[in-house]
Symmetry: C2
């Protein structure tokens, strides 16, 4: 993608996030977003199908990416190693250094029932992709589903905690602490 | 509830499930359901707000029930004991002896995007209620959320397996086996 295109996309996203935060998701229109970004609606629709997609477009390829991480892990890697390596890769690629944006994103999604629904679907699609990856490695479907759901839970719950803390703890450290807490509870 | 009322509700539900399975959720109307049940549409709307509610009305109180199981557990019960006792109570009250109905229910939900969305919301509401129950017992929010999501996962994944097996294994036995598999993976 040419530099100016990437800039346009990022400017549109930033303008949309600002407006959603300032005046609400429902009250914000595409022309308001493009006016704020100093771009045309034509440019907007080259990058996004609608205003909701500004919030979810970058997540669209996450399930395929996660499934690939699982299927392409070394043949002798344990499921736990695969999960932890995958969570670390996603944490570093998607979350580290972007805490303010993620916080803003979550706050906007929380205000709208349709956006919350979409978020749930996204999470279910991610878990299904991880499950398929483990099934492709030969795990039985129940164990594959358990590990997939647990991976999604570890990521989701840890992101929630990471957004709430103000020190510079890494998301992956929060994930490891959460895993230790889950393990301690289940082994009690 | 008077006997004849309970009968009407159950007859409407059975008629609706049959029709949804035979001709699809979308193609089925309330008059078709009442005709099959030999009851009036007026009676239908005394029991259900719309045809979707036939599928979800009985689940409406599940989050409150689950939260109560958590908050009212003995003060010295460990989180794991609370989870297992809760899962056993729900398995026995809602699933045992009803495998055919649950199977039919899941098959119908799988056919319709709106119903799948509703199912995801239901699961999220259940997890939120369990989390609130653990928070009320003094657990920190992250651990409470982890245990709540894991409880919902254990139930959901185990029900899927239980529906697929044709012997008379109890759902709670499937849940215990799933927990052992999860534990073994996380401890590896």
């Amino acid at each position: 993608m040419a530099r100016w295109q990437a800039d346009a996309r990022e400017r549109l996203r930033q303008a949309a996030l600002e407006l959603f935060a300032e005046q609400g998701f429902t009250a914000t229109t595409v022309p308001m977003i493009t006016a704020r970004a100093g771009l045309t609606t034509r440019t907007f629709f080259r990058h996004f199908a609608d205003k909701r997609e500004v919030l979810f477009a970058d997540e669209a390829e996450l399930p395929a990416y996660a499934e690939q991480l699982v299927t392409e892990a070394p043949a002798d890697a344990s499921p736990l190693t695969i999960i932890l390596d995958g969570l670390r890769a996603v944490a570093e690629a998607r979350f580290e250094g972007r805490k303010d944006t993620v916080r803003q994103w979550r706050a906007i999604v929380a205000t709208d029932a349709g956006l919350r629904e979409r978020e749930l679907q996204k999470r279910a699609a991610l878990a299904a992709a991880i499950r398929d990856g483990f099934c492709a490695r030969g795990l039985d479907p129940t164990r594959a589903a358990l590990l997939a759901e647990t991976s999604a839970t570890l990521m989701y719950v840890s992101v929630t905690e990471w957004l709430e803390i103000d020190d510079d703890r890494k998301l992956y450290d929060v994930i490891e602490t959460a895993l230790a807490a889950l393990r301690a509870t289940l082994d009690a």
